[in-house]
Symmetry: C2
């Protein structure tokens, strides 16, 4: 275990797969001097359809891997893992653990006009009631309508973002939320930033979209500043990408989520 | 390891998830006196999008679990695992190992009028070229057109079998196959029997559907007869269901694939 994290140690980030690279992309924009070790558990992806016990066990193993690599903090770049395992991770490990949920909720409530919130995510995230609970604790007056949308990740991974079938699926998924007159839609899955263009076209200006990737990155920056953990080295920061299963498909997807290239992918065994 | 399998030992069946229960359903119809132990690796499902190495490693672990439970033969009720791991399993274990691929190919070629074969399955199954190779070895004159159809399993698991979006997805997936004038369509995934009604409506009488679940069951029966391994006990046969991740969703899906009820699901740790 990393007992005395040094500012120049890398930041650790994990996700069930490569979707969490949307968070890495946002981190690199806002914290361009940080080195990052990313772990994608592509051998066991997805987490969103699995049980709380299994999600917690996998999340502990992911964090163990990053801690063994000497990271100074761990970002849980997966809404399902955050919803089910954040408290377990925070009580099990000594390094700071930051999830995507808190920052997403803060960004949701930052707009005082927000009165009716829709939430979409994996079955695991929605079933955990973690977002619903966190929002209701802070603003009990807000109407919350949550909907599990398990087909969205497969469509994104298939690359069918402009397919008419995706629009038909989205229309059905969003109908109960729009029927309630939502003014805000929380994208509670790190895959979903890729759907922002199609969602904007479907929802127009009426509904504000909250993307947990960018809000999480801003929160990480504030936490590192507060803890005096910002990297001070002048050398070029690095990005190391570990996957538990390495396929060409995962690598191509990774490039799309990261919005750029990376070096050789390394194989991780948990 | 089970060195001297007794006829009254159970049959072992495994799949990446609960889709392989379509094979169990077919086995119970044709071999009503057999006891069955089923293992669904629901903690790591799906296999179809993962790399050959990982699929082989998972398949060996699944088989080890069944062999440790004293099964007399192992049925690989997963096309992806059969395509990548059957040879490894057959050379690693001493019990007979039967996959879904061979019987599916036999059933495909049983109709002498078959000249143009379409194959649909997971990315892993199609990428392995196992079906294409097996058909081409026996009938080099046949035209083969294969297409990975990774969105079908998520739709089936979401239960959206009559949704217009599924039809739109199917139309796009099947177009290159129909453009080649296929007369036979191999459903190279044990989830797909649930799509038979919608496929029949879309394809009419022109295209024969080959479902690997029922052809595999017939093959298992012949193999057990030949090896003198049919169960002779007069007591009621049992069905034991082990899952590596147990959720309500998996249990509901399992009932749909099995087409009936079962006892308490047991947790397996691999």
């Amino acid at each position: 275990m990393n007992l005395s994290p040094l500012p120049n140690s890398p930041l650790g980030v994990f996700d069930s797969g490569v979707g969490g690279l949307t968070v890495v992309r946002a981190l690199r924009e806002i914290l361009p001097n940080e080195s990052i070790i990313y772990l994608g558990d592509t051998a066991r992806v997805p987490y969103g359809s699995k049980s709380p016990d299994t999600i917690r066990r996998f999340s502990v193993e992911d964090t163990q891997f990053l801690v063994a690599h000497g990271v100074k903090a761990v970002v849980v770049a997966c809404n399902t893992a955050t919803a089910h395992a954040l408290t377990t991770l925070q009580t099990t490990f000594r390094v700071p653990i930051i999830g995507v949920l808190g920052p997403g909720v803060e960004a949701t409530l930052a707009d005082p006009a927000c009165e009716r919130v829709g939430i979409i995510g994996t079955a695991g995230t929605i079933r955990s009631h973690a977002y619903q609970h966190e929002i209701a604790m802070r603003r009990p007056d807000i109407l919350i309508e949550a909907k599990a949308t398990p087909l969205l990740v497969p469509f994104i991974e298939e690359g069918w973002i402009d397919h008419p079938a995706l629009k038909s699926v989205l229309r059905d998924y969003l109908k109960p939320l729009l029927d309630k007159g939502i003014d805000t839609l929380v994208l509670a899955c790190t895959h979903y930033p890729l759907l922002v263009p199609v969602l904007k076209r479907m929802l127009g200006q009426k509904v504000r979209l909250v993307d947990s990737a960018s809000t999480c990155a801003a929160h990480v920056k504030a936490q590192l500043e507060e803890a005096g953990l910002l990297r001070t080295a002048k050398s070029k920061p690095t990005l190391e990408l570990f996957l538990t299963d390495h396929s060409e498909q995962a690598e191509n997807l990774a490039k799309r989520f990261l919005g750029g290239d990376f070096g050789r992918v390394k194989k991780a065994t948990l």
